[in-house]
């Protein structure tokens, strides 16, 4: 019941924020210095064609009318047509979104599982080898530029060793049946196990590159949080009960230590979405991140606004989910 009202409050806040997001995105796309028409027509088109195109896109209207058009369009689920692909931006996004979500989910699972395990071991075996290893691993994770590391890993694992593919979602000559757009899910649904395992193989490097820095942050937070929790009075109480160390750690410390970790999973997801932009570029991943980068480079403003709005939307929804999860895990949050 309390949780319900919390969710409602949080949701209404999110609606407000999303509205702000729309305005910011509009402003951003309208301060673009170049005439997007140049982007569509390329270098050879004569000025008459350019003017016609401007009119066609409604760019000759006053700015306020453009804003209304834009907001009206969005509320009807119409993000406009991409200047580059000439397709509705919504169609483009729906085509590229599953790949990004697939990569993001696989990375966040990787990051959360490995991060928590490393952080936990690190705190429990403080100043032992595993702690030093995990800390070095973590500090490198947040220090190494992913775009650079990615290039190097391709060189090693694809070119030198030949163990992993260099990029893409699956090998060529595979023509996966598509239902949902999620390669692995579709492959599983249709029993195309060659596609499934091929997809997994293609996921390994990008997942590592994308998830590494999150793994590192989560491990660091987990370690600090665990060390903090281990000093709490209730841990002493648990020990005073005569519970074995393992039980004290897993039953009493872990859940408490996870609470701050949960809050940063939301933030880390933002980091993942940011990172996806780079990772997708390096690993030829057909996702939304690359779509946005290309839109930015070609100043395809409907695509920029659509893509950014979607990313912000996903991020907000994930943060909402994390907040709810947080409330569900920590009883103190509920009242």
């Amino acid at each position: 019941m309390e949780l319900g009202s919390f969710i409602i409050k949080r949701l209404s806040l999110m609606v407000l924020v999303i509205f702000g997001v729309l305005i910011i995105v509009f402003v951003v796309t309208r301060i673009i210095p170049a005439d997007p028409v140049g982007a569509i027509l390329g270098g050879n088109a004569p000025p008459e064609t350019v003017d016609a195109m401007r009119h066609q896109l409604g760019l000759d209207k006053p700015i306020f009318a453009q804003l209304l058009d834009y907001l009206g369009g969005i509320f009807r689920g119409n993000l406009g047509n991409s200047l580059v692909s000439s397709r509705p931006v919504m169609t483009d996004i729906m085509e590229f979104l599953p790949a990004t979500i697939e990569l993001a989910i696989s990375s966040i699972i990787f990051a959360v599982v490995l991060g928590i395990v490393l952080g936990l071991l690190s705190a429990v075996f403080r100043n032992r080898f595993i702690d030093h290893f995990s800390r070095v691993f973590s500090i490198l994770g947040i220090s190494l530029p992913g775009f650079w590391l990615g290039l190097i890993l391709i060189l090693i694992f694809y070119y030198r060793l030949g163990w992993l593919p260099s990029g893409g979602q699956y090998d060529m000559f595979l023509f996966p049946t598509r239902t949902t757009g999620f390669i692995l899910l579709d492959a599983a649904i249709h029993g195309e196990w060659d596609v499934f395992f091929n997809g997994i193989k293609h996921l390994i490097l990008p997942t590592f590159i994308l998830g590494y820095s999150s793994t590192a942050s989560i491990a660091r937070i987990m370690r600090a949080s665990m060390l903090d929790v281990l000093h709490q009075n209730y841990i002493r109480t648990a020990r005073a009960k005569g519970l074995p160390r393992k039980v004290v750690i897993l039953r009493h410390a872990l859940k408490n230590a996870l609470i701050p970790v949960i809050t940063i999973i939301g933030l880390e997801f933002g980091g993942l979405l940011s990172g996806a932009v780079l990772t997708e570029t390096i690993f030829s991943w057909p996702g939304l991140g690359r779509y946005i980068v290309n839109s930015l480079l070609t100043l395809d403003y409907p695509a920029i606004s659509g893509g950014t709005i979607f990313i912000a939307l996903i991020y907000s929804v994930v943060n909402l989910a994390v907040d709810i999860l947080y409330a569900a895990v920590d009883p103190r949050m509920r009242s």
């Binding site: 806040l13 407000l16 924020v17 999303i18 702000g20 997001v21 910011i24 995105v25 951003v28 796309t29 301060i31 673009i32 210095p33 170049a34 800390r135 500090i139 490198l140 947040i142 220090s143 190494l144 530029p145 775009f147 650079w148 290039l151 190097i152 060189l155 070119y159 600090a224 060390l227 903090d228 000093h231 933002g270 980091g271 993942l272 979405l273 940011s274 990172g275 932009v277 780079l278 570029t281 946005i292 980068v293 930015l296 480079l297 100043l299 920029i304 950014t308 990313i311 912000a312 991020y315 907000s316």
Partner: protein
């Protein structure tokens, strides 16, 4: 004469004693910090790295053996040699010189972004926290809106919209970074506002501006600085990422991310173009992270005890 001087001495001594006594806890604190510093070798390594980084940036024109922008196409893509330890790039420029001169750009990026984002963050945070109510609500919702974007994505959008140059990348990152400090400053301002002495100062007739300036601001600075050292690594990475995507510094500026981006087509045959600037980014960010970790550990009461 002698007497007076000794009196002065003793006055001085007593002043010193009093000073020491009053500042005792603070000095203990400093001692403690130095102790913790020494005890965490990683923080020490971080300090050394950042020290070197700053020195290199400071003396870059003296250290760089060649002009980082001068091209010599006849010698392009030469492998590392004694004369050019990091090799030559696709324009025949000395990679070492570019990396060294690049450190200046990184320092510039960090410095300007810090100043801008802290300035915005402090103003927004302090005003929101100090006044509370509707002002707080509005400012914090604006902050939330900025936080609703993954940082790099928003920075990319700003950078592209403003058109990609180093300056604009700096502005773009600042526009994204300030939220961090706004939240910190707000928390501090709320803490300070509820202190009884603020009521007293108000009763005496101090203006809101004065209170914010002389009482809230100083309290907010130190958590902001701590946060800053921890975010510097991220700032460099963000700037480098923008550079890598072609949305940041533009050639021939030797910004490290841009160098990696430019050289990535040469990765296979001419690894040195990307390897060295990439390592420079990694090491510098590592240094900042180690330093930030150290500072956090030292100031964190939980770890202190």
């Amino acid at each position: 004469m002698k007497k007076t001087s000794s009196a002065a001495d003793s006055a001085k001594a007593s002043f010193f004693k009093r000073f020491m006594y009053e500042r005792g806890p603070m000095l203990d604190d400093v001692k403690h910090s130095v102790y913790l510093w020494k005890k965490t070798p990683l923080a020490l390594i971080g300090t050394v790295i950042i020290g070197l980084f700053l020195l290199i940036a400071l003396f870059a024109p003296l250290l760089a053996p060649y002009d980082p922008i001068a091209t010599d196409l006849s010698r392009k893509l030469e492998a590392p040699s004694a004369a050019h330890p990091f090799g030559l790039d696709q324009f025949g420029r000395d990679v070492l010189s570019r990396v060294i001169m690049g450190s200046r750009i990184e320092v510039q990026i960090i410095f300007i972004i810090s100043v801008i984002s802290i300035a915005i963050g402090l103003v927004v945070g302090i005003v929101a926290g100090y006044f509370g109510g509707v002002v707080d609500e509005i400012l914090m919702r604006i902050t939330d809106i900025f936080l609703a974007f993954p940082r790099l994505v928003l920075a990319m959008a700003f950078a592209a919209a403003l058109r990609p140059t180093l300056t604009n990348a700096i502005v773009a990152i600042s526009l994204v970074e300030w939220t961090v400090y706004a939240r910190l400053a707000r928390a501090e301002a709320i803490k300070v506002r509820s202190q009884p002495y603020i009521e007293a100062i108000k009763a005496v007739g101090a203006s809101d501006f004065k209170i914010m300036m002389f009482h809230v601001l100083p309290m907010s600075i130190s958590p902001v600085i701590v946060q800053l050292t921890m975010r510097m690594g991220t700032i460099i990475l963000t700037a480098a990422s923008l550079g890598f995507l072609g949305l940041g510094a533009q050639p021939p500026l030797p910004e490290w991310g841009a160098i990696v981006s430019d050289g990535r087509s040469y990765l296979m045959n001419n690894w040195w173009i990307t390897a060295f600037p990439g390592m420079a980014i990694a090491i510098t960010v590592l240094g900042f992270n180690l330093l930030g970790d150290g500072i956090r550990d030292i100031l964190d009461p939980r770890i202190r005890r």
